[in-house]
Assembly symmetry: C2
Homo-oligomer: 301 residues x 2
DNA sequence: CAAGCGCCATAGATGGCATCTATGACGACA
DNA sequence: TGTCGTCATAGATGCCATCTATGGCGCTTG
């Protein structure tokens, strides 16, 4: 049995005639006759009583017609839904973002994404790198914005923009007067986030882990960290996009002498079929961040 | 798109693996790969994300799976219902019967039909010959029991049994003493049914229409006619199976000298596909009536 | 009443396509 | 590092849906 055959049945039932039904189906009349007969033999049921001037559905056919219509309707629904799903730049797009990036990046890119990709329903998901990778691998995310390299056999990534780190100091800190802050000096009283935040590791790496004198804040957000610094408990190193929030908290920001920073990348499964959506999202983000990159470069000169 | 393809989709979604799905479908793995790819291309939608160790349905596939399941379920329903409908000796069987036969034949054949053809739901429909033929031709009946020949290009019939006519007389009628009644004599004060009843024409033909002296009863049943005769308004000619009813009404019955009678036939459309059901019903009726035919033959000797 | 018309069935030819086996590529695991 | 399991690709093959041509049959019409 075949969906095509079922459509033939419906056509005959509708037209009450093989010739017209065949025409409606775009096939020749003999083909229709043969196919219907084969279907009747396959089902073991005579579907139509062929009369001199009429073709009338049998009782059995009437009993079946409901299901036939149902099957054809579902098939048409599949085609219709598939047509709607055909656009890779449409539909749900689950985007993971690390916590040290999300609060500062999302407000920047939400509007541009809506404008450039109106059919794409971005669903942000904020979590730490490892959790995001796990969700990505288990198909619970479509892509993720990370600050680490993760390319491997199953995951692919693309760099979107460079985000320089900044030294964040209390206004009365001894380093607050410097134009540039040396990473090693910062290490003396630096506060860092808890394990699991990639920013913690990167900050420590930038400052030379060995000289760690500051303390680790468990289960705290970058925002909390800023407030701790503002309260005079130490210094820290923040990603560039958090500069606004840091200034709002009353901190003094200074570039780092070694120009440490991180690279924000968009990551997705190697086999993810909606690569077009990933690329599009990545491009929108990169385009939105370009002014910042140029500003940073200009400031550095 | 094809129902087969849809079953493939479901198998892959269920097994999460091409190889096992192919095995479950009874095809080779390359065939499944090729077919799924073709379906994906036809739909314009990637259905599965092929990973190193896993095959995961895409979001689009999830959206479609409901309809896919629906279509396959309807298709299975078609097969299941067709299986039930396969027996031609099962299901509704609309049987037309003429009014001068139905009240006397139906009580005889109902039980044997139920016994011999338990799955056949006989729906009797009582009306005059022309109305029955009309309903038969318009597929509102599956077969009819008539007392006339109707074979033609579109209708076929088969004789079931011979039903002799009997003279029905009031007990005090001048012919009531005879062993045999001559049809011509009966004509002198015969009462007949209204136009449309085949029995009317056959009675008149048997008695010689020219000598009609009796009157016609409009819109009356054979039962009414019997009561009229019992009340002394004349004589009549009844079909053999009505003998019991006539005797109950107090009438005297006598064989006719020319042995006039009628042949009860079962009629159906030449193209009617459940010919087996027609034959079976006919045989049950003929078998049930055989004792009567033999009794009549024996009485005639 | 015979011819023409409309309809469905049949026959034979043809091409597309589903399927197979064999093989390749690739990642996982021991 | 080699072996295993998995999916993809390639080429061969055979079935079958489809076509055109034709026949049969009943109805209509001049």
């Amino acid at each position: 049995m075949n969906l095509r055959d079922l459509r033939y049945i419906l056509a005959i039932a509708e037209h009450g005639q093989f010739s017209r039904a065949a025409e409606a189906c775009g096939i020749s009349q003999p083909t229709l006759s043969v196919q219907v007969r084969k279907l009747e033999e396959a089902l073991g049921v005579t579907l139509f009583e062929r009369g001199a001037k009429s073709v009338v559905p049998t009782d059995a056919c009437d009993r079946l017609l409901g299901h036939v219509r149902g099957a054809v309707a579902e098939a048409d629904a599949i085609l219709a839904v598939a047509r709607d799903l055909r656009d890779p730049l449409a539909g749900r797009f689950r985007l993971g973002i690390i916590p040290t990036l999300a609060p500062y990046l999302l407000p920047l890119i939400f509007a541009p994404l809506r404008e450039s990709l109106p059919a794409l329903e971005i669903e942000p998901w904020e979590d730490q790198t490892l959790a995001l990778l796990e969700r990505l691998r288990t198909h619970q995310l479509d892509a993720a914005l990370l600050a680490t390299e993760v390319d491997g056999p199953d995951l692919v990534s693309e760099a979107l923009f460079e985000e320089p780190f900044l030294a964040a100091l209390p206004p009365d800190h001894r380093l607050a007067g410097r134009e540039l802050v040396d990473e090693a000096e910062l290490a003396q009283d630096i506060l860092v986030l808890a394990d699991g935040h990639c920013l913690r590791d990167q900050a420590l790496a930038a400052c030379g882990q060995a000289g760690l004198l500051g303390s680790t804040l468990r289960s705290a957000s970058l925002s909390t960290l800023l407030n701790m610094v503002a309260a005079g408990y130490g210094t820290t190193l923040i990603p560039g996009l958090a500069a606004g929030a840091a200034q709002d908290a009353g901190l003094v920001l200074r570039p780092l002498s070694a120009r440490a920073g991180r690279c924000i990348r968009i990551v997705w499964r190697a086999g993810f079929p909606r690569r077009a959506a990933v690329e599009a999202v990545g491009q929108v983000i990169a385009a939105r961040l370009r002014p910042f990159a140029e500003g940073a470069a200009a400031g550095a000169v």
